[in-house]
Amino acid sequence: MASHFHQPERIEEALRFKQELGEAAYFLAGGTEVNNSKSKAAQAEHLIWLGKLGLGGIKRREGGVSIGAMTTLQEMLESELLHPAIHQAARNHANRNIRNVATIGGHLATCRSCADVIPVLLALRAWLRVATLSGELERDIERWLLGERDGIVLSVEVPDPPADLRVALECHTRTANDVSLITAGVSLRNEQGCMRDLIVAAGGVAASVVRLHEVEAALEGKPLPSREEVESLVAGQVNPIADIRGSADFKRHLAATLVERALRKAWNR
């Protein structure tokens, strides 16, 4: 259990604590990960609580919506400012008790392979505002997922989607109250019978949520091919690991099925 609980009131202060304390310190947001008895962070000596930095709240901005990092997933689910697909993703996240404390910042930083809300953020071309000691910057979520995860997430910026953008999500859980095993999130526009601006994201198939660029490239500008074609295309692009929740084959099959379903749903919308 931690023995120090820091409550910085300025971002720089928080960053500096982290810089000084290094591995021994964790940022603390909602705490569903950090305070979890099963997590590594539960052993950390120092906690830097982000609750006094004013990072909560969802705001309308020019050309989009800004979700403060300390916003809980339940608040996102209840916010009328957010895209319905974000509501759906948030609803897939665990359960009410967890959603009431888990924050979007913590969700991004935890960066689970199957993080439920990340695919929709990719599908909506959201980006992050991140504070580092060298200043505030904008970060592409994909780069964040690929490992550029230093600093404090200040907010998630979701641009207003084009009016004809179609978004669809799928997920597979064992029971209703479960972390997803495989997720899929897609967005596209149908331009005269062809798919445009396609984004295909999947969770549970790699260390973190990934965009399936090859699948996107293969389908961009085309009408949606047959189910079998899409499925084998996706299956060829994902390499999930086997674990107690399922064999690699099963997960690959699920990923192919769910991505195909999401694409078809978006296509037919």
Binding site: G31, R96, N97, N177, G246
Partner: protein, 959 residues
């Protein structure tokens, strides 16, 4: 540091460190309702409160995060003796069973109702999506919410809660507020942990990391030297007593093959040492200081490994028999290894431990060969069941202390009297030195029928004189308490073309794990609660149970019947398919009915000759008829989605009502000075409503109000002997005992009233409320009788005792139906409709009976679809937590979930009652498997039916 929070409406200054766990701090502050069921992994929701009006798990929060904020707990809902409308609604709707999860559920719904005036079913599900309840099956929550909404307008609103039975009776068969509802809905104090006094010690166990090993050397000196360590116990200094941990009537059919600590460890998680220390942290540190050297042996995990000719042997024990020793025992014992200790059998159970055989039995009726030769169709199939855990939300926990020179054990147990007996033998003190107080039990489901931890704490308290709390972690609960026996059942059916059965062979192999608790009786029950459902002249069964190094097995609601039922009922579904006849018609043709004579039971006694029984009250006919109607059996099914296929299934089920000739219950009723009564019941209420049953028995028999009967139960100092809560015996035996005690009181009342009124007893009758009246029109009140008997010239305070024993069996019957959808691309199964129709004789508490049915059905839907303990090759459990071991919760409810009580009247049970709970567990696996076949044409012969297995069966995935 000091923190100010707004706690339940007023500011509270809390002395704590900012990084302290909020749940622990709240407990310290006297908020007992924040319970723990998952050791802070955030998966059970038992610790939930409202933080600024939103439901949160306090185990996942630190005090610093909530400083200055508003906390609201269930303690704020009720006043001194008055429950809020929400709380009474919960109790009345039958959704408070063990009550462990109740505070969390209440706060979840409290938040919902603050925000939404008339919530939908989906909103209720969302509100409770993080609350794990193993007892109730959730379904009645929707009614509770409805009731709560109405009661906000009209506090006295009753509404329709459940059907009622027996018009002529006052309390029995009626919806009445559960007698412990008040205590549970308030949030305690009620459970073992609520009883601990400051300054108590903690006990922790060093668990074996190996599945199979000798302890070559153990050094506890460093641990003992650690300041704050009170005692360290290992096999070197514990009592050298071999015993049986199964809470069964003496003499037990289970072998005495436990020692408190043994020189050989037999499963990952087996006890190596115990540390008693001033704090939990010191106890943990001390465990790390114990040095153990193991001599590793290859683990035996499966039935096939256990019975292989060259298998490593778990139990090369020195074998002793109390009765019936075989002639060659001395020769046998020459093969013993002293490090393997002893096994004592009270009587032979056809074991051969030196070959890993824990027990065996065979029996049958008629001539099986003849039966198969008469058959026109023979079907042979094998079915396997997985290891599943009972997962009571409250893990095993015990608090032991000395009171003067006597040992007091506050236990969360199903068998307080067996505990007392077994512990008295281990410690070597008479039973009258030991008091076991059964507290409210946060779920048992069979796991608490066994003595899983009590003897260690009891012994340590006896030796040190210290108060000791011993609570299992969730992981320990998985790997070191009790689970369902793994079984492999080969069924061979012979039938005529018209469906008439000519022969049934049931060849059952079971894996008991490291200990022989229930090793004979659970597998036998798999036969005795499935075979008698089908009328067939030629039946043969074999049972072989093997030792292995998997986590221990034991009793689990249903007690083998779910596995036996799955095999035999699914085989019947397969037979129907093979014969091309309707499954329901095939069941109808072969099923048991009123008046059937169950000869097979003669060979299914528990280690002794059984008693054949005639069936007197069988509700199967109406259950099948009504269920088929509700489901629209036989009507065509259309799926709008080509990827989704729909199917239907059915299974018939039965159980017993206690064990005739073996079980017994006792009770006493005493009259107080104002004519009210105290009932002392031996019965063990696990949240099932047994205390309400016994109170109703007395109030009904004595024509008095339920409030006029107070109850104390299952406190071995105060209340008389009862075998405990298992084998579906509660209502029948404990209820029967209460009724018999009340009948005794009635006779005393007549005697006294006759004297007071100067009338012959034949002229008297009891009249509600609390009067003895005469035909002549005069009467005397109970209060007057009490004053009369308790005066200086009276006969003394009236007390009557009652015992219930019987040689008659009463069997509850039922049919479970389901309709489900299989997603052929993901393999996922969605239950659309699930109907459980069961006869319980007279349902004493109809709303609670329904709750038992919903709970049993949902739990076993979980077993059928999701649950399985996964072990690696070394016998380590890979999913000993709720993140990876998935239990069904409210989001998994069938879309349409209905429990229906079929009215029958039993001639033997008190007021015609039979048992209700265990039977509910027997239908899910076979009826779901049959429906999966109906939907997609594959037979699922091993449970759970996971998506991956279904895709494999469909050929979509390679197996």
């Amino acid at each position: 540091m000091r923190f100010v929070v707004n706690l339940n409406g007023s500011p509270r200054t809390i002395e704590a460190e900012a990084h302290e766990n909020l749940r622990e701090v709240l407990r310290r502050e006297g908020i007992l309702s924040v319970r723990a069921g998952c050791d802070g992994e955030g998966t059970c929701g038992s610790c939930a409160v409202l933080l600024d009006g939103r439901l949160v798990n306090t185990c996942l929060l630190l005090v610093g995060q909530v400083a200055g904020r508003e906390l609201r707990t269930v303690e704020s809902l009720s006043r001194v003796r008055e429950l809020s409308a929400l709380q009474t609604a919960f109790v009345d709707a039958g959704v408070v069973q063990c009550g462990f999860c109740t505070p969390a559920m209440l706060m979840a719904i409290f938040e919902l109702l603050e925000k939404v005036e008339n919530p939908t079913r989906e909103q209720v599900k969302d509100a409770l999506s993080g609350t794990f309840c193993r007892c109730t099956g959730y379904e009645q929550v929707f009614k509770a919410v409805q009731l709560a909404i109405e009661r906000r307008r009209d506090p006295n609103y009753k509404g329709f809660i459940a059907p009622e039975f027996r018009e002529e009776l006052l309390h029995v068969g009626k919806v009445r507020r559960k007698v412990d509802g008040y205590q549970l809905a308030r949030g305690g104090p009620a459970f073992v942990e609520d009883r601990v006094a400051p300054g108590h010690c903690h006990l922790k166990v060093l668990a074996s990391p190996h599945a199979h090993a000798y302890i070559r050397h153990v050094d506890t000196s460093q641990a003992e030297a650690l300041p704050g360590v009170v005692l360290v116990v290992t096999h070197k200094n514990c009592p050298d007593v071999w015993y049986n941990a199964a809470g069964q009537g003496f003499p037990e059919p289970s072998p005495y093959d436990h020692r408190m600590f043994a020189q050989k460890v037999l499963h990952v998680g087996d006890r190596v040492a115990a540390v008693v220390a001033e704090t939990e942290e010191i106890a943990r540190q001390a465990l790390d200081l114990i040095e153990v050297e193991y001599e590793l042996l290859p683990p035996v995990l499966t039935i096939d490994q256990a019975k292989a000719p060259d298998a490593p042997i778990l139990r090369k024990a020195h074998v002793e028999y109390v009765a019936g020793a075989p002639a060659d025992l001395d020769t046998y014992n020459q093969g013993a290894d002293p490090r393997d200790g002893h096994i004592i059998y009270q009587f032979p159970i056809h074991a051969d431990p030196h070959r890993n055989l824990a027990a065996s039995v065979s029996g049958g009726i008629g001539d099986i060969d003849q039966g198969f030769s008469e058959a026109e169709v023979i079907l042979e199939r094998t079915y396997e069941s997985a290891q599943v855990q009972c997962t009571p939300v409250e893990p095993h926990v015990v608090y032991t202390r000395m009171e003067a020179d006597r040992l007091v054990i506050h236990a969360s147990t199903q068998v307080p009297y067996h505990l007392r007996r077994i512990i008295s033998r281990i410690i070597g003190v008479p039973e009258n030195r030991i008091r076991v107080v059964k507290e409210r039990v946060g779920g048992g489901f069979g796991a608490k029928q066994d003595m899983v931890l009590e003897e260690v704490a009891a012994y340590c308290t006896w030796v040190t004189g210290r108060d000791i709390l011993f609570r299992m972690t969730r992981e320990e609960e998985f790997i070191a308490s009790r689970t369902r026996h793994v079984m492999r059942v080969r069924i061979k059916l012979g039938a005529r073309r018209d469906g008439q059965l000519t022969a049934i062979l049931m060849d059952l192999e079971a894996n008991t794990g490291p200990y022989g608790d229930h090793c004979l009786t659970v597998p036998m029950n798999a036969c005795s609660k499935s075979l008698p459902l089908l009328l067939c002249d030629n039946v043969l069964f074999h049972v072989h149970t093997y030792y292995s190094n998997i986590p221990p097995t034991g009793a689990y609601q249903g007690y083998g019947a779910p596995q036996g039922s799955y095999a035999l009922q699914l085989a019947m579904a397969e037979l129907a398919d093979e014969l091309g006849v309707d499954h329901l018609a095939l069941l109808e043709k072969n099923r048991v009915r009123d008046g059937s004579m169950l000869e097979i039971l003669r060979c299914l006694g528990e280690g002794r000759e059984g008693i054949p029984q005639k069936v007197f009250s069988c509700g199967l006919g109406p259950a099948l008829e009504q269920g088929a109607r509700m489901l629209g059996w036989g009507t065509p099914l259309e799926s709008p989605d080509p990827d989704v296929k729909i199917g239907r299934g059915v299974a018939i089920i039965q159980q017993g009502s206690g064990l005739p000739g073996l079980d017994s219950g006792n009770a006493a009723v005493t009259m107080f000075g104002d004519g009210t009564f105290m009932l002392l019941s031996g019965g063990t209420d696990l949240g099932t409503g047994l205390d309400t049953v016994t109170v109703k028995m007395v109030a009904e028999t004595l024509c008095t109000r339920m409030e006029d009967v107070a109850v104390i139960a299952a406190d071995t100092d105060t209340t008389p002997f009862d075998v405990g809560a298992y084998a579906s015996s509660g209502t029948f035996f404990s209820g029967g005992a209460a009724r018999n005690a009340a009948l005794g009181m009635k006779r005393l009342l007549f005697r006294e009233a006759a004297e007071i009124l100067g009338e012959p007893e034949e002229n008297l009758r009891l009249e509600f409320p609390s009067k003895v009246a005469s035909r002549s029109g005069c009467f005397v009140t109970y209060e007057q009788i009490a004053r009369y008997t308790q005066s200086g010239t009276g006969r003394g305070q009236l007390t009557a005792t009652g015992v219930f024993v019987t040689d008659k069996g009463s069997f509850p019957y039922g049919a479970h139906f389901c309709e489900l959808a299989v997603d052929t691309r993901t393999g996922k199964v969605k239950i659309r409709k699930y109907y459980a129709l069961q006869d319980a004789g007279t349902p004493i508490n109809p709303e609670l009976a329904l709750g038992q049915m919903y709970g049993g059905a949902l739990k076993t839907i979980g077993h059928a679809l999701y649950e399985q303990m996964l072990l690696d090759e070394q016998g380590r459990c890979l999913n000993a937590n709720f993140v990876d071991y998935k239990v069904p919760q409210i989001g998994d409810l069938p879309d349409d979930f209905q429990a229906v009580l079929i009215d029958t009247d039993d001639p033997f049970g008190p007021y015609g009652a039979k048992s209700i709970s265990e039977i509910s567990c027997n239908g899910a696996a076979p009826c779901i498997a049959a429906a999966i076949h109906d939907a997609v044409g594959v037979w699922m012969r091993t449970w759970p039916f996971t998506p991956e297995k279904i895709l494999e069966a469909l050929g979509t995935l390679e197996s």
